[in-house]
Symmetry: C2
Subunit: 197 residues, 2 copies
């Protein structure tokens, strides 16, 4: 088990240092960052159930977890230049893309209806250099937290605005940005998909 200091140490690996603020204006609506790379990455896996730690154990308290039943696990990473407009595209994809089996067809998580577990995963922004990964494209931590918070909120409101989902008691749960994501997942086939925005 790593200590909190170790956790911060690990987290710092996945976040670049101080960046020019002009690069980090999250209010801009354009999707171009001036570079050719993506602004954000998602991985979506189907799950029968999944459990994620949202608070590590401390001297005083046990660890806290969130759990979802059938639905999708969404790993999220924001890169430099990501904006509110990027988040809107991502949320639309998460809620409408047809990846889940329903009878003999494929349905979106909204139509299933299914649950959503959002896992912040800064490591998706890594690029191999020799035997090590580098994370130079990752967004600064404070900007990433802002977009992540918006992403979770929009998934929540987007899913609950769909009639059947709310009636069926489906939920959106999410991990704590910057924490180690202690995750367990049970699938009947993850059908893993990668998305870039």
């Amino acid at each position: 088990m790593l200590s909190r200091i170790d956790l911060m140490h690990f987290y710092e690996k996945y976040s670049p240092g101080i960046m020019a603020s002009s690069e980090q204006d999250t209010s801009k609506s354009g999707s171009s960052s001036g570079s050719n790379g993506p602004l954000a990455k998602l991985i979506i896996q189907q799950c029968l159930s999944a459990r994620l730690q949202v608070k590590p154990p401390s001297d005083d308290e046990e660890a806290a977890y969130v759990e979802v039943e059938r639905g999708i696990v969404v790993y999220v990473c924001f890169l430099k230049g990501a904006s509110k407009a990027t988040v809107e595209k991502m949320v639309k994809t998460v809620l409408t893309i047809r990846l889940s089996e329903k009878d003999t067809k494929l349905a979106s998580v909204s139509d299933l209806p299914g649950n959503v577990l959002i896992v912040p995963q800064a490591t998706l922004g890594g690029k191999a250099k020799g035997k090590m990964m580098q994370y130079h494209s990752n967004i600064a931590k404070d900007q990433g937290l802002e977009l992540y918070t918006l992403f979770c909120h929009m998934c929540q409101t987007g899913l609950s605005s769909k009639g059947p989902s709310q009636e069926a008691g489906t939920t959106v749960k999410n991990g704590t940005y910057g924490n180690r994501q202690v995750l367990s997942i049970v699938t009947n086939g993850p059908f893993t998909h990668i998305f870039e925005f």
Copy 2:
């Protein structure tokens, strides 16, 4: 639970139809396929344990599974133009890239030493078109099976050729190509990384 016919139905979604044989010469050593896209994709997640179905249940027999303890789960997808040379690069990355925590540093799965669970995952080749995924870049099934078999074999021999791994009893296990990958994974943080070749 889907029947075997349904499984084949799903699998066919992730594999293109008949292709020009010149595109599919796996003996060529060059990495260029004439298109700009990648030739293969990998996702690597850290695990404390993972379990994968390698044979679905039948009327006569129960399902068969493989399991690994601490190490990595490697999701593999081959795209059009992938060759033996692509596989060699992929295996080198899997065995040498430093993603696993060892004391306060990062180590490769060979140095950990850890186990490897290989999961064929044709869905990684998908691209969103509207609300549906398309898999036009995926390699033909027979070629994919050939490269997948080579990939598993090279991971096996590569890991066991490293001294500490063999002594520590680490193993490489793999899913059945073309099957539904019924997978469960327990992590202390998946630290998910995406690789393109």
